[in-house]
């Protein structure tokens, strides 16, 4: 038990470069595997949370753009969404990494983007923005006509109509699908260190460490189930948090009209 505490001290923040420098090399204990894989989860959470937060705003803008009458707003938004939803995230990561490498030689400003913490975050941000924009666009299309007419009758228009009627209704309708998107995004963060972005000084994410153990021990039956356990915990956390927001978005509705969260898991983007 004390040795396990010691291991946690050594490796608990290893993915950030704090603690023991060398990874365990042989005689791996269960405690070491759980601690290191858990430490890698810090990166998954970092990528997931930041990409989701930033992507939310871009997604709203893109959805409004796709819904706009003006060709000049609509076409770019449609193309952006098609570009990121039509191609594999894995290839996007590779392309972005090599793009940033080329740009780095042009201007040193792009140097941080060749590291995962910034470069992969940008890709994930744009990717989730495209997927969420499609969800929000669908929700915008299905806002009840009566809501908009009621706003018009009350003399609301422009910003105040958007702020008070369109946007909250859009969020309310899109929320269950958006919860799924958040879960997929979390799963997608595991691709980062397998797609060109180097894990500098072996500071990787959870899957990076899980595959490290699987490679070293030739035994996939321990690290991958640990990883799965961590991810299931994370997924449950997301569901709980988004469920709370869903409750708040629907709080004005009568009990039986409230939208139930229906969770459908998807695999790869």
């Amino acid at each position: 038990m004390t040795s396990c505490l010691h291991t946690i001290q050594d490796y608990g923040l290893r993915s950030l470069g704090i603690g023991e420098r060398l990874l365990p090399r042989e005689g791996f204990t269960l405690c070491e595997q759980v601690t290191l894989i858990g430490s890698g989860m810090i990166w998954n959470i970092y990528f997931g949370v930041l990409a989701l937060l930033a992507g939310f705003f871009l997604a709203t803008a893109l959805a409004l753009g796709k819904n706009a009458h003006s060709r000049w707003l609509r076409k770019p938004a449609e193309w952006f969404i098609f570009l990121f939803r039509g191609s594999p995230l894995f290839i996007q990561f590779f392309f972005a990494y090599f793009l940033f490498l080329s740009l780095k030689s042009v201007h040193p400003f792009f140097a941080p983007f060749t590291a995962a913490w910034a470069g992969a975050l940008v890709v994930l941000f744009l990717n989730t923005a495209a997927y969420s924009a499609e969800i929000f666009y669908g929700a915008l299309q299905s806002i009840p006509k009566g809501d908009i007419q009621a706003a018009d009758a009350l003399g609301m228009s422009g910003w105040s109509r958007f702020r008070r009627i369109t946007w909250p209704t859009m969020l309310r309708l899109a929320w269950p699908a958006y919860t799924n998107e958040a879960i997929f995004l979390f799963h997608a963060t595991t691709l980062v260190f397998f797609s060109g972005f180097p894990a500098w000084q072996q500071r990787g994410d959870a899957l990076y460490y899980a595959s490290y153990f699987a490679d070293k021990t030739f035994n996939p039956f321990i690290p991958y189930p640990i990883l799965a356990g961590f991810f299931i915990l994370c997924t449950l956390g997301i569901i709980a948090l988004f469920g709370l927001i869903n409750r708040r978005l629907n709080r004005h509705l009568p009990q039986e009209a409230r939208q139930k969260m229906r969770l459908r898991f998807n695999l790869i983007r």
């Binding site: 590779f94 090599f98 595991t190 695999l267 790869i268």
Partner: protein, 295 residues
Amino acid sequence: MFSFCADPATLDRLPWFACYLTTGVHMSFYVAFAKVVVLLLITAPVALAFGFLGAMAARAHFLPVSLLGKTYITIVRGVPDIAFFLFFVIALDQGVEWLRHKVLCSDWDQPVRQGSDFVVCAQAKLPLNSAAQWVHETYGFALAIITFSIVFGAFAANVIFGAMRAVPHTQLETGAAYGMSRHQIFRRILIPQMWVYALPGLSNLWMVLIKATPLLFLLGIEDIVYWARELGGTKSGRFTSYPHGDWRMWYFLVLLVFYLCFTRVSEILLERIMQRLTRGQATAGGEAQRKAGLL
């Protein structure tokens, strides 16, 4: 490839590219595109079959079978993506070797797992150490196909399970009223009608499957991602007659465009199939077609 390619250093830009893009390694790159298509063409029907079996198991009246089907669907769907790919390839490989080891070398007294090693007798190795290179490659590719099929089969099972439940129950009751057996109802009424409900989910799955193909790279197959990295990297004049800088960005741009075209074409084709399947169905789409006078 071409006769003027003998000394690339002297060529103009256009013939240089004509020669560069037809070298032997580039041919392997183009073959890798075919590998992706082959993988899709084999995986899609196999995964559909897995999905069908899974859905039928989940619907079964015999509890253990139904639990087995439901567990298959939930486990694969609940756990993150590529972890499954990485896990299954090793697990399947070791599973098969372990079984062969038990059968072929029953007199072997050492444990299979020795510390960090997985040791089976030489005859149990698959493919055998003496086998030709192409056998090893085919074996790896087959493992990849099985892995893809297992994972996507669970997703397909989920879609088909839902579609089977979406077929209006009255239709099945009508079948029963005509004196059909359970088997006949399943084959003549449920199956033909469920496709229209399953298709949106299955076409979504096809898109996801297309976008999952680059993960072949993680399974150790020499696929398009592998070749794009290999060919794009900086080449100095010492080792090749076609020296160039770091072109990996352009190679991956080609892959990006390839995938975008592939998904766009699939979208259009699936839309057509949906139109065809909707004809005469008791759904909103079918009703719209009837009103438009398409029937």
